[in-house]
Symmetry: D3
Subunit: 320 residues, 6 copies
């Protein structure tokens, strides 16, 4: 068995030191000794408004040096549970060649699945969740989905393409990757020019919790609703940073006021512990629009929360 990559001697150095890997984990080229892989997907080619999420992985790595090991509420230490490493970024050769980049992402995650690595990905725009799911789920059974976002991302097409950051979960349902009955969308808000996306989500059977419902019922009931919706089956978690309020995440492409605080988001994520997560992502951090690293700090902190969820799920699995 290969040496574990999770040698966190880097934790003893000042946080500003050394090349920034995700949460100061080692860079691993050999995936066989990795349980949970932290992966960058620097792609933002399909956004409707402000670009820049391609710079997300680097800045999330940079600010993730501030995270540490033991969770202050749950006392979970993911680095003791699983072998965790930074796997670098998805590599691209066909960024400008039609949908080539999406294929390259899907291929990467198919290999991740083969390597039995649980991926925690940093986008990139939300388009990337579709090829991630293609790679991870493949021909397997459709997975449950917990989707925290200001937007349902179930629109149909834009500017001549079915594949952009407002459509991934409609495509994922159509392609049998995600089970709409086991899907919950949390934090939806903001005006729309057409009701089409909202309608698709509802008509396909997804549970849509608009922000107002979340506020009215509180985070605890929201958690209960999420757990009820996805049940005990295999589930994917996708977190769009624009689910946070712009005061907590100004650095994103399509901000919507009236969103989550980080405190609420952390509480929400913590409440999902024990679900059978096969992976997760945090997307739409766009550093060129960030200020004071507010968004990247939030993104890195929430990635740590998701990492704890993935580690807990990993531990509970027979194969772990």
């Amino acid at each position: 068995m290969p040496a574990p990559p999770t040698d966190l001697t880097s934790f003893s150095q000042p946080r500003y030191a050394e090349v920034p890997t995700f949460m100061r984990t080692p860079l691993a080229s050999d995936w066989s000794s990795v349980d949970i892989g932290l992966i960058g997907v620097p792609y933002d080619g399909r956004v409707t408004n402000r670009p820049g999420a391609r710079h997300g992985p680097r800045e999330l790595r940079n600010m993730s040096s501030l995270t540490r090991a033991i969770h202050h509420v749950t006392k979970v230490n993911p680095f003791e549970i699983a072998r965790i490493a930074d796997l670098g970024d998805v590599r691209f050769q066909r960024l400008f060649d039609g949908d080539g980049a999406l294929d390259e992402i899907a291929d990467f995650y198919a290999r991740i699945r083969e390597a039995n690595v649980v991926p925690l990905s940093a986008g990139g725009d939300h388009t990337v969740s579709l090829p991630i799911l293609r790679g991870l789920v493949g021909d397997g059974e459709a997975v449950g989905l917990i989707h925290v976002d200001a937007h349902t991302d179930t629109w149909d097409e834009f500017q001549g393409s079915k594949y952009m950051h407002g459509t991934p979960f409609r495509r994922a349902v159509e392609e049998g990757l995600v089970d709409p009955k086991r899907t919950i969308q949390i934090g939806i808000r903001g005006p729309q020019n057409h009701a089409e996306g909202w309608d698709y989500s509802l008509n396909s059977g997804m549970r849509v919790m608009f922000m107002e419902e979340v506020v009215d019922r509180g985070i605890r009931e929201t958690i209960a609703e999420a757990r009820r919706t996805v049940g005990s089956g295999r589930t994917y978690l996708t977190f769009d940073i624009d689910s946070l309020d712009p005061a907590f995440a100004p650095g994103t492409g399509t901000p919507e006021i009236g969103g989550f605080t980080t405190r609420e988001a952390m509480q929400l994520l913590r409440g999902l512990s024990g679900l059978d997560f096969i992976g997760g992502d945090l997307v739409e951090v766009a550093p060129p629009f960030d200020v004071g690293a507010i968004t990247a700090t939030a993104g890195a902190g929430l990635m740590y929360e998701i990492l704890c969820l993935l580690a807990t799920a990993f531990k509970a699995r027979p194969t772990a």
Copy 2:
């Protein structure tokens, strides 16, 4: 009847495209085909501290490209209810000539009233609400006022003038434009050197809800109190962006910590639907002090909420 200005083909273009008008509405020079006019008042000549609100209209236009048509909670689509256009900015020839600018604003709004246009204005500093009311109300009956702000703006004078951004509503009462008994001030907070402004508001019969009362009783009771105060008569809505907490609106001249979140502000505004609003404004967005467009994003989003209120009121009016 002239062609409706609300041809929103611009909605199909990416949000970063084209010359930025308010909410991507058409620029209209012919006011006869306009029901609701979006107007910039780029004046900040009477602030006590940081200037820059003169740049507010442009930046609010810029960020308002992110708003869209259908409200996600109420499903109101103001663009289907009313003909909405950007009427450009109030034009000035006498900015440095005593109170000339205030006269020019008042003249502009008198013409707006004659044209039967409901105005939604973007300041500028809060001084502008006084000449707007002069133009809109004229010799008519004093209107009710819903005033969301950190400050009562009922001080008496400063630096040798009765007309500045801390005095408009005292003047408006004195001039018979606003009925203090039908006035509510919401979100007041922050220390003062003299109690004079607070006292004037209370003594004149205004209902003053300090921020602590709002927090203690909650947004729903605050809404009820506001509705009770203004009743069914004609009412004006003025929203000072410094009512928001500086985390949600750093770009303003006199920030006060402990303010509203955008979520609360949206809930508050939504709760006012059905009142007989004759116009509204959003003031004190000072882009030179903004970062990451946090303030302008909030301002544009809240202008959309106010637009929904004005459209709903417009629809309910016999003349609509």
Copy 3:
């Protein structure tokens, strides 16, 4: 008796005018006519991550021009209760000479104590609270401590030193300056690599309220818990700006998401009125990482809240 320093004619000038002293109080070189002294401690030589708090005093002075006299909730006017002045900064000659700077701070505060001045200090990193306490408490009885922070700052050592911004309150207990039984730490959160600091606080008898407990029980019960813990004895108040959420305080060295809003922090501080405070500090404002002066605005506003606490305590004291 010397003329009172609290001649606030500066309050009549625009806030952007004149050399910025703390809250526009006069600069005093003669301490004999000062009851409460506002003091800068521009030292950040012992931080684990991002430096810059050395620039805190200047920027807090700058933004403190926005504060005013009368508290809008309590109607307390500290400037009428006590003679308040800006005493300038602690002066350094031994910044690079071992722990010389800490000795210089302690010496300064020993003189403050001798002059019967109640100090309200602006850091600087949290290391400075230790020498402040050394100077203030000296050989006297250990004081109670209300400590608002994201971190317990009771770690043992780092990078070869016992004295850095993660250790001051462990040292303060060891040196008999602070009574752990009369100490409460509020707002603690964020992952840690070792539980050592948390353990020390709990084992020494401190009351540790993690952020989640604060949220669950609410600010009012938190206040009650704090009052219960410190009782009626002499108490010091230390406020680390990173207790606020990074959206409300991005400009700090070790931000932790999920923190206080300014509204909560103000409510918490107000609730402590009547305790026998002998001094207070606000630390870890790091302007180079601030944006839109969000952090400095919060810091200056919270310093005003603390000033009200100190003035109220001063007034209640027989010697006042």
Copy 4:
């Protein structure tokens, strides 16, 4: 003859007022009364590094309010020579559909040519110069090219496409749009991973003036060389803002140190007066990476210089 669009009454308003059009010219939908059209091309889909030039047209419009009419050296007033209007942006429906956007740009400029409008375009990334030339030149004779840039943009392909911001002028030569013998590239610098682009430029017969030659020989000789190279024939001018030094243009995707000052760039452009320019563009202004509007101020000022060149050429033409 239609009314002239160049009614510059807007010049009498403060520069921060009104909806920002290019240089405060009127927005024209009727092109028949326009001699020179100012056009935005908000496309940045093919950059190798930092995106954001899609936001260039809006910000260049915004800052162009600072430009005025009469050139202080030449006394040329382009607004008296020609009817100048803002034609808005190229409209897109196929942004995500292969090379659809490039086709839409080419179609737009073919219509510009048919309308006998001389275009001054604001990018967008440098890719857009290719479809602009396709539209403008069409099947006509290859034009001369003055190309000011840090990079030759004559690479062959990248990430699976022949069409990106490093290839437009190689394509333009291959497609017979540009005559390499009448092409000069000025300001080239910065390391490269392969010499391929440099080689293509030289081998195809272009005159390549690396920055060092420009500095050694001075701007006057550079002007002479440029005039000699393009001669009296029809010529296009393309100005990449990254030809400026990053101190003068930080807001661009691929900055290269050691570039032009604005003073040099203005002198260079002024020296080209009298050449038969059929159009020009200024590209690669990426506002998300700009600070203090340094780049947009430079871009707007240089667009004014180019406008003077186009107006002078327009005036000299028999058809004017």
Copy 5:
């Protein structure tokens, strides 16, 4: 004789320490012991475009902590030649009362003249130079003027007033304060909508060196021309920071590309040593538009150069 204010013990403290006075000089309320007074004029009420110069004095004070005593080229130490102090800011009570603020500035400088203090002022917008000259020159003989600026500031009126930042030197000539034959304007550039200001300067007999002439002839000949123009008589020096290129001074209201570098500006100023300067000012630093303190650093450094000029002139005067 009172104790000299120039006790620069503050020089031994770190530059970030203490309340920031200009160049860390003592704050003096007793002018009788001051030879050269550093004065802030925080007024920007008459700008055509971007406001913010009211914040100039504070930020120039802040960054001036970086300047030191001995000039590295001339070895002049102004602090040994003259007693230098920070006199605080001009105080205002009539900011919003017509031209009251200008009167208050004039009154202040009349007292400065009476006190025999040589003033070095920090604006504020350029309007302030007129009342400064009114106070300093009074009924005395018109003085010579060296005016470094992008604009001649000899326009006639704007927005209903003769007094704004584009008119001070026309007024100063009309009022007999400045001798146009002994006036030189250096660095003029940028387009204008009307030639009126340029014409006035030339017609009144001023020597106008447009930027191009400065560049063509070089700084040394520019110095010679300036010395020739003003001769040996009493002369005032006014430096508008927008004479610098926006890369060196982005934080100003009306930036013009193609300006001076700081190196050129320093060389120019140094070359004026020995002229009989009776005072000087540096205006139009607008911190809200500054980034990275680039402008304030330049402004503070240039103020030091001007201080050396004033000290040298002071030393040469019989009264010194």
Copy 6:
């Protein structure tokens, strides 16, 4: 012989992708296969003013992704000449323990010397050059020094220590590490409170070229003077980013106006090709004070120039 680390397949990825190492070179833990090592020294514990250079190595790595392989003037490709790798950062355990950090740096570079690696270091404040020289030179013969800086850094002590960023080269002479007769300091400028540092440099025999001499004589003669001074012996190159003008390098601790442009700095460095450099460093990049990455872009570009110098020297050495 071990496999070469200079596998630059990363060059084919977009520049924003992957973990940022210096110039996208591989991270090497085995130094035996490295000829030139790129090293971060994240230490800024001894600065007189603004801290932040500890963040320099990370940000220089980040922006160095924009550099490429072949020099556009010299056609040198350092990656073909030498095996180049990123060696990570110097590791610290004694940052707060007296001068422990300096010892740790010296130990690191002693090992670098033993490994026959030529170091190119990124600071960190200028203090680090002293322990680097201690490690590199050891007991060997004193080396020549080319020192580009605004300050001589030959002061004696500050705040109780002989070791800070204003003293390294005085110490280096005293310790026999640097030969003052073979030392040249280029670009010195800015006022000083005492002439002591200037005097030490001159009295010890160093050649000091103040900025004015550089400007008067031009870069070519400056190069000649530098070559003459250091001759053919072993030489170290140290480049303080504050030698650049603040417009080109705002992000540094003690900016001085009137500095180098990047164009001049590049020309200067290129002119030093062929000298026998044993290593070099670029220091004082302080990202918290940078804007638009102007400073880091300059720093990364200049590091590439220095790399070419080191590679050329490496190639010329018999041992290469």
